[in-house]
Amino acid sequence: MAEESKPPQESESSQPEQKAATPAPPAKSAPASTAPAAAKPVAPAAKAPAPLQIPLDSELVRRYRERFGAAILDALEDRKQPYLIVECAQLLEIARYSRDEEKFDLLEDFTAVDWPKREKRFDLVAILYSFAHNARLRLKAVVGVEEHPASLTSIWPTANWLEREIYDMFGIEFSGHPGLKRILLPDGWQGHPLRKDYDILQQDTAWVRENLGIESGQ
Amino acid sequence: MNATLQALLQFLQTWWVELVCGVVIVAVVPLIAGYVVLVERKLMADMQARLGPMRVGPHGLLQPIADAVKLLIKEDIIPRDSDALIFWFAPVISMVAALTSMGALYFGPSFRVAQGINIGILFVIGVSSLGFLGIILGGWASNSHYSIIGAIRSTAQLVSYETAGGLAIIAALLLAGTLRISAIVDAQAEQRVWFIFLAPVGFFIYLVASIAETNRAPFDLPEAESELVAGYMTEYSGFRWALYFLGEYANMIVVASVATTLFLGGWLRPFPNVHWLNWLDGLPPLIIALAGIYSIYRAGKQPVWVQSWFMWAVAFACFAVAAIFAAPIAFAPLRFALPGLNGAFWFLVKVSAYIYVFMWLRFTLPRYRFDQLMHLGWYILIPLAIVNVFSVGVAMLLESEFGWNRWLALIITTAFTLAVSVYLVHLHDKRAVMASTGRGVISDSYAG
């Protein structure tokens, strides 16, 4: 592990200097080109359409590919931040490898993004940080509604509440989680608010009526 | 009929002083307690760079009355699953115990309820300790976890520290050779020294123990608001809560009075037997008059005429009191009242100073944890109190049997006691380190 001290982090550690070659006339143009509006970027499902995102082929990615082969679906860099798209079934193993071998020892965040038009609608996003390399890495896994991804709690206890929040907000059920229940919303709540099809004005009116004794929480 | 009236009259004739003093205590102590609260809030505000109550009356002087009115008209909530009867009378026990124990106290040579009780000091301590019954029963009857934990803590704390406090006063009792309150003060006059100088360790132990007994910070665990909300008082509201509160402050006055009597020379003025200091007898009216003058000075600065008017009233009240104190000095026929008035003044000054120390500590120190409190009580204070009793006894023996100089004997034995206390603290530190690093036996705080 010791020999590769530098490779992964041309990404973030040097970001304040802004010197790296960005292959794009980046979003500075965005305000200017307000009117055309880039024709509403097809469907969100189509990944990496913008020039800010470039395929990544670093030492680190090569090691991951070597180790996990086809489980690493893609490796990209967005705004100079690297991320790997991985097979959901292998997420646990890859996470363990990241912690033990690649020294990404802090699970900074674990969250999800909903893309309802996609066949498998959720992205699980784990943001890892390595103290040794002072670098971040994002692991992304695509998950469908019925899938039960393995819980990361065995690797990082901090995943406990983060996964509960994902469950609470998106309804993704993790297998192997020690106590998967709602965390921010009340236990009897129906629906998962951060799903895109959950309207912002929609409340669980039944719950509100039953538990608070009022017609609406608004 | 006539005979009954005769008996009644005779009864009144014999006991009128006691009756009047008793009524005064019952009627005035709650008021005084209310003003002790105001003084505490003002002192706290001063130490915390703020003003404290300022709205009700000038400088908040009427705040206690406003508080009392508020508490009286508040709803008296009795929790649904509580034991209503016990819940109802528990605060009364607390208050009654505190007031009853005052019955045996001397607030000056002539202001007292019961005269010459042989076991005066024991009575005060014994009866005031009954207040715990109110606390523990109230905590239990509330049927709330916070309350019951508060009650248990309070009881455990009281039992532990009463032992230490009781042993501590034995030092003074040995020196005085009596349990009568008046005789204890007389002994200090005779021996020309306050017992605090003869038994400093005893006084210190009593100071700590009395803070713990009255549940004051840093030993206010039974009502630690950051842990137990309000401890045993959590479920109480309105006047029942006020009774607890008043009982607590009345208790403070009781322990301060006991300490004053035993260690601080009671109602004796400083240097009671030094004749060229006799002008000190004129000090009380002077001090009170100065307070009046200050009030007049402040009256001009009040923003509202009502307040300024009230300030004038305060000033005149001060002058009136000063005149009462000055009268015996000015008019020879009234000279008989001088010792009584001055005694009461000095007694109150000492009690106030003692209570001030309570408050000062409260604003300065963080709170002990329960096990630390218990360790302090059982591992340091109680052994130290026992050693102290032993030391004072040895000193007295050395004086009476071997003709030693009393001061020499006391200095030597006190030094011995201090050495023991250093050793005890050292032992305790070692034990604390062992316990906190997980080695050694974790002791149960309640096992004591």
């Binding site: - | 016990i86 009780i117 076991i119 014994g126 715990f132 019954l133 523990i136 019951i148």
Partner: protein, 177 residues
């Protein structure tokens, strides 16, 4: 006159609260009435000018022992524990003991005058308020004529205390292992 009023008042309170203590089902209520009984008894001591006994009663029984009683009652769910303990024999024994006691008291009251020295009722004692201060008297007799029994009692209590501590410690160790 005042003395008899006080006596009957305290005696009445003592008997009444004793009866209530036995009949209450709630353990804490029983404890409260026991405290009342003890306080009333203390009042009788005071009425008899035995002020040291009075304060000893208050400090030791009401202040000390009752703390432990209430403590245990509050900490242990007695109502649960009581379901496990059956009092079949006790009731029978209690009736027997009560009868025996009643018989004894009756006999003593009947025979009182015939006992040597005038029996229980001491004749010709000084009026109560003329007695010497009894705190000193009690201390003197305890520490002079009855020194040996006093010391023996102290040692006995000490042994009991040490024994209790040792037993408690052993049990804790047993729990831990």
């Amino acid at each position: 006159m005042l003395d008899s009023v006080l006596f009957y008042f305290f005696a009445g309170v003592a008997v009444l609260s004793a009866a209530l203590m036995v009949t209450r089902r709630n353990a804490v209520h029983s404890a409260v009435f026991l405290i009342t009984t003890l306080l009333a008894t203390a009042g009788i001591f005071l009425q008899l000018r035995a002020e040291f006994l009075f304060i000893a009663q208050i400090i030791l029984y009401v202040g000390g022992i009752m703390v432990l009683f209430i403590f245990v009652i509050m900490l242990v769910r007695l109502d649960v524990a009581l379901h496990h303990i059956r009092f079949r024999m006790q009731r029978f024994v209690a009736v027997l003991v009560a009868l025996a006691l009643a018989f004894e008291v009756t006999v003593i009251v009947l025979l009182a005058g015939k006992l040597p020295g005038g029996g229980l009722f001491v004749q010709g004692a000084a009026p109560a308020d003329k007695l010497p201060p009894n705190t000193e008297e009690l201390a003197k007799s305890l520490f002079s004529s009855y020194l040996l029994p006093f010391e023996i009692a102290s040692v006995l209590l000490l042994v009991a205390m040490v024994g209790a501590v040792v037993m408690a410690k052993n049990r804790r160790r047993g729990d831990a292992s």
